[in-house]
Symmetry: C2
Subunit: 118 residues, 2 copies
Amino acid sequence: MEKIVRQSMLYDFYGELLTDHQKNIYEEVVVNDLSYSEIARLNGTSRQGVYDIVKRCDKILEEYEEKLNLVQKFLAAKEKMQEIAALTEAVKSENRDKALDRYIDEILEKSEEIFQEF
Amino acid sequence: MEKIVRQSMLYDFYGELLTDHQKNIYEEVVVNDLSYSEIARLNGTSRQGVYDIVKRCDKILEEYEEKLNLVQKFLAAKEKMQEIAALTEAVKSENRDKALDRYIDEILEKSEEIFQEF
């Protein structure tokens, strides 16, 4: 997994456990994709200061994941959900009974929605 | 939701963030369903001591949930998954095309497995 994708997932799950200051800096990197120099300038701090905070946040978030494994479990559930959706698409394309279409479409709709909150 | 069910869910999600001592005591209550007096006797401590630890753990775990909302999001996803399973059961019972049964059964199987890891 690309580093920023992992940082972003860890932040989605555990970001609220960081301090406001850590969150502000980390979001500029992970969500807004700003460079360390830009963030330093915007926050009146040094590039090294930003680097240290990001590194510290990475460590904190990875430690939560090491203990709780919720990102890993979520990714496994999401993968299984994609398999369910693919099987449902197969049913939809082979099905010739119009009466079943309503159910099948509703299954596909709910498959899309199920992890939207995460 | 019954108190012990909620305690048990919170513990499943965030229990690893408690200390070993807190985990030992909390598990005796929530998983093994022992009384405070029994736990006190087993641990050579007072009933009040056990009560205080359980209360402290409840508070810590609720604070994590307040910040992260992962139990709430998980319950919502689980409910949606149950709706998908019910719709798939409806498809299964109305379907007359044997060729589709293999897909449908696989969907139901994966629906059972999806949250087993949590």
